[in-house]
């Protein structure tokens, strides 16, 4: 079958609704080595790990070199060495990604660009005597980078650009809400940060679920992990500590943790099982330490906590046995 016949077959199958666009894209991606595999089970090879490690070490080296000689550098050199490096790394990454067999090199340079570009933008603003520690300025930098990486994702369809968009989007969300709430009673409450991370955590979980079966599905596992840490961690923190506890969050948290554990089945995600169990254990220990150590005595509180942990462990093993072979 030549290329023309193959493309006509795809067109015919599309008209007959025998295949969807995503299925065609997945089949295409599976044939290429330079793109991330479109399944949640993608594993990083040694080469990829080394490429990314190398990129991280390059960023570290640039950072140390510049910071050691910062006072001796002129404004132009400061901007050139930071923003300039970032832009060069971005362009090199784009050029390398277009070449067969050199895609991972391109990814490493994109990682360098994503780390160095924000530093470069802050340097430019600092050299213009703009207050770089204000939330408004930080929001401006992050929205610029979010725009750049969303545009890059649209043009080049790389999962790394989606990851960078999520990171800068998160930073924009935090700095933007801090900017809005700064100077108000809302901002002064310690709970404001917890609510920010709760919303981010839920967003990551929804994104992770939405990416399943799509080209970005390699990000799903990591979005689930960070999403669960942020959302369950925030919910636990919002419960507070006696006598200033928040009854609403303390009462619903075990439901959230158990719900997370049981969601691991339909979502087929071991991350939900493991993290749900860890946070449920943390909750048990917190409640024991908060309410039972003074009234029932420390030894009895430990017995209660131990029995509860045995129960959680039994549930974990039972559900885990249904996950053999699922990541």
């Amino acid at each position: 079958m030549n290329k023309e016949e193959l493309l006509q077959a795809v067109t015919h199958a599309s008209k007959e609704k025998q295949v969807t666009r995503d299925e065609v894209v997945q089949a295409y991606d599976a044939g290429l080595e330079s793109k991330l595999a479109p399944t949640e089970g993608h594993r990083f090879g040694i080469a990829e790990i080394l490429y990314y490690l190398g990129g991280g070490i390059v960023v570290l080296g640039i950072g140390i070199l510049i910071s050691d000689n910062w006072e001796d550098l002129s404004s132009f050199t400061r901007i050139f060495s930071t923003l300039g490096s970032g832009l060069v790394a971005y362009v090199v990454g784009v050029l390398l990604s277009k070449q067969e067999g050199r895609g991972e090199w391109g990814q490493a340079f994109h990682l360098i660009a994503a780390c160095v570009l924000p530093i470069g933008l802050f340097v430019v603003l600092d050299e213009m005597n703009v207050d770089t520690s204000s939330y408004g300025v930080m929001s401006l930098v992050y929205i610029s980078l979010l725009g750049l990486y969303l545009f890059s994702y649209r043009m080049f369809q790389k999962a790394l650009f989606m990851l960078a968009s999520i990171v800068f989007g998160s930073l924009l969300f935090v700095s933007g809400t801090d900017w809005l709430a700064d100077g108000t009673a809302l901002f002064d409450t310690g709970d404001f940060v917890s609510y920010q991370f709760l919303v981010m955590g839920l967003t990551y979980l929804l994104l992770g679920y939405g990416f399943v079966g799509k080209a970005e599905s390699a990000l799903t596992k990591y979005l689930y992990v960070f999403g669960l840490f942020f959302s369950l961690g925030s919910a636990l923190a919002l419960g507070g500590w006696s006598p200033e506890q928040n009854w609403f969050w303390e009462i619903i948290f075990p439901g959230l943790a158990l719900g997370t554990i049981f969601l691991s089945l339909p979502l087929q995600s071991r991350s939900f099982l493991i993290l749900g169990s860890i946070f449920l254990i943390a909750y048990i220990l917190k409640i024991t330490g908060e309410y039972f150590t003074d009234s029932l005595g420390w030894p009895f509180a430990l017995v209660v906590a131990g029995l509860a942990l045995i129960g959680v462990g039994a549930l974990f093993v039972r559900l885990n046995n249904r996950y053999k072979g699922i990541s």
């Binding site: 809005l180 700064d182 809302l186 002064d188 609510y195 919303v199 929804l206 679920y209 399943v212």
Partner: protein
Amino acid sequence: METEKQEKNWSLRLAIALPFVMIAFVVASIYLPRLWAPAPKYDFVYHDGQDYGSAVTFRVIDGALIKEEVKRIEGVYYTEPHLYLYDIATDNSRRVSFEEARDLKLDGSRVSPDGFSIESGIESRGDFSGSFGGYPKPLVYLKGHMVSRKLHGGFDAEDSNSGFQFIGWVVK
């Protein structure tokens, strides 16, 4: 298959909508109460001394400002605090002498007659070049009627002692 795809698309839409929902909530909780909160009417007097190391303390007794010398301990460095009158209408303060402040009728309560109070803290701000820590300046908020407003004027004057100690409301 189509249902599952629609579910995932809804998940993505909800993921993008959720941060905007929180932003809308934050904006509503900040700006809506301002629509019905009364405007603050009372100026107040404060000094820029710190909790410790001030050479004098100020109190309001029977509506009048009283100054008391602090018993000095040898080896401790004491600063002379400066008095300020904060104009709530213009959101700015000016330095006043003790004699000028003594002529004002003051209310030493934490809460003003129109239901507002002053809360303060210390801000530490670094700059990007790495000299973290910065020079602390007071953060002062006017709170009341579910509204909180940062006060901006005059807390970081060059010759200020960088402290903030509320003394009393000017009730004229």
